[in-house]
Amino acid sequence: EPEVTQTPSHQVTQMGQEVILRCVPISNHLYFYWYRQILGQKVEFLVSFYNNEISEKSEIFDDQFSVERPDGSNFTLKIRSTKLEDSAMYFCASSLDRDHGYTFGSGTRLTVV
């Protein structure tokens, strides 16, 4: 079964550093998403991406965050200057279209120290 692949699985970074989280969505999917889950809390929507542009973003997704699809396969989330409160599990997801469910990746656990 096709998978959404995320790398790295775990990243530790110093506060103030930039991080890039990488995702390879399922190859024929058209809609891409980032979600995050702070430890012990529910999963929260960050941003959706379609047709090479952001289609929706939450209030969490401020100027410190950006997304990019630099080529035909990768989808990245960049956090410019990490804060302690950015520590969370970050999930990438993709979907074929609006009549199919989302497939989530295994997540990247980001720890900011």
């Binding site: 889950q37 999963v43 929507f45």
Partner: protein
Amino acid sequence: GIQVEQSPPDLILQEGANSTLRCNFSDSVNNLQWFHQNPWGQLINLFYIPSGTKQNGRLSATTVATERYSLLYISSSQTTDSGVYFCAVGDYNQGGKLIFGQGTELSVKP
């Protein structure tokens, strides 16, 4: 926005028991999915079920969209079923993002 409530918040079962998890949502949706988050944090897609009934082995789910709820049934539970079960809903006419419930934490004891 759409509100999602899951019940119960916690559930402890003996291996072999059956259980029903409930998801209520506050508005009409055209996407509903059930996920299992395993102890390693991975979100495993169980069902895409905006309406109707589906079965996959010991798991089945039913969504009654007109009454705004969905049920996940786990039969003959196993210790590997432990983890958190999330319901997530969305409306494509309002952007399509999934709104997650708080989850039901299931613990199956041997």
